[in-house]
Amino acid sequence: MMKKLNLPLKCGEAEGLKAGDCVLLSGEILTARDCAHRRICDMINRGEPLPFELKNAIIYYAGPCPAKPGRASGSCGPTTSSRMDSFAPALLDLGLGGMIGKGEMSDEVRSAIVRNKAVYFAAIGGAGALYGNAIEKSELVAFPELLSEAVRRLTVKDFPVVVAYDCAGNSIY
């Protein structure tokens, strides 16, 4: 049974998701990984405005390949989420709606997901070509000098993920 969800998630929609649910996501997500998280958190600590709206956004831990001519994006599967363990709770407390990545995250992240009624989706690590194909549009949002690690706004269609941590505190792992 495959659920379909449009992003951004509507109020209360995350609460209807259970760990283990297979979901096809459509809508906008933001990419950010190690270096971008460092910069975003430094900007927050300095009280600077962020180059995108964090409230209700979904961050995808990913750094794509360059797009071949005629394609919106290159291959773009998830990276290992646990490297963002130290950043995620603060972003969730500021209103981040959830994350997409791969693999377990820390107990602090799980608590922050419960506390903020957010969600953590696992994308299938290694399925980069398939995820790249599910991207209809990719716009550069911030930090172009980080190359593949820059923040991009992706418009995705039927992006296959599995609910890894739900807001009731359950985990697929």
Binding site: D34, G74, S75, K102, G125, G132
Partner: protein, 278 residues
């Protein structure tokens, strides 16, 4: 004596790099297809997605995984070969640079402190061995770091023996859990010294998935470790199930009377490896 221009080696590596980025090895592909049997739920969904992804990447010539890796190039050079042209390492890096640009591969190599990207995925990790003859054997392995990060080296006591070796392998995979993109392929080095052992583990990943070491006692370690890993039930992507690893491949070398080094190099399910002989 045979004269080979390093340009010729570079041209071969360029082709190998382009091919490797978009294809899994046939033995890896078979193992992933077989792993679908008997799985269900999220693990089956994940395996099915991976097999679909592999077919799509091959059909449309796209990088299988966005982590097109650090280029690992292992060369066995016959001592009757005389190399001419650009210095070998420079030629290899030139080939990698061109392949990553032309293949639209991700450039993932950066300064370890400033994290500034080199912009062209160089330098490659180049290893050369001198052997007999007048041929050059080239192995090309683009290695992603989700799995590389989960690798480990242990300096065991000789008394820990075979059980200690198997325990080190199984615990490394267990500790990695869902993070390195299981089902993994596990390369193991047994013996040698600290750095040599790690290199054996990397070389073990060049072997076909499903192959066994020629030494019966080493093959038995591979077999036992694989069974124990898969009994842990981590499963594809950590979603539980039967297949946490598609293989364990061990390579060995003599070691010191005081030591038993064991290196475990984790490879994700994206086994991309090309081999050629010049």
């Amino acid at each position: 004596m045979r004269i080979i221009d390093t340009n010729e080696i570079a041209a071969k590596i360029y082709e190998m790099a382009l091919r490797a980025g978009t294809r899994l090895t046939p033995s890896c592909k078979r193992a992933l297809q077989q792993a679908e049997n008997g799985e269900n739920g999220a693990a089956l969904f994940a395996l099915h997605t991976l097999n679909e992804n592999c077919a799509l990447a091959e059909r449309e010539n796209l990088p299988v995984c966005q982590d097109t890796g650090m280029a690992c190039v292992m060369l066995e050079i016959g001592q009757d070969v005389h190399l001419t042209g650009a210095p070998l390492t420079e030629a290899v890096n030139g080939a990698v640079r061109r392949a990553y640009a032309d293949g639209y591969f991700r450039k993932s190599i950066c300064d370890p402190i400033t994290r500034e990207n080199t912009g062209d995925n160089t330098p490659a990790a180049v290893h050369t061995d001198i052997c007999a003859g007048e041929r050059i054997k080239i192995a090309y392995l683009p290695k992603g770091f989700g799995s590389e990060n989960m690798s480990a080296i242990y300096m065991l006591k000789p008394a820990q023996g075979v059980d200690g070796i198997i325990n080190a392998i199984v615990e490394t995979v267990k500790k990695a859990g869902s993070r390195p993109c299981p089902p993994v392929y596990v390369g193991v080095g047994i013996g040698g010294n600290f750095d040599g052992c790690a290199h054996l583990a990397k070389r073990a990943l060049l072997r076909e998935v499903g192959s066994a070491n020629q030494r019966a006692d080493i093959a038995e370690i591979e077999r036992r470790a694989l069974v124990e890993i898969n009994n842990r039930g981590i499963g594809c992507q950590g979603f539980h199930g039967k297949t946490t690893a598609i293989g364990v491949s061990c390579e060995w070398a003599p070691t010191h009377i005081a030591g038993l080094p064991v290196a475990v190099n984790i490879q994700c399910h994206c086994v991309r490896c090309e081999k050629e002989i010049l």
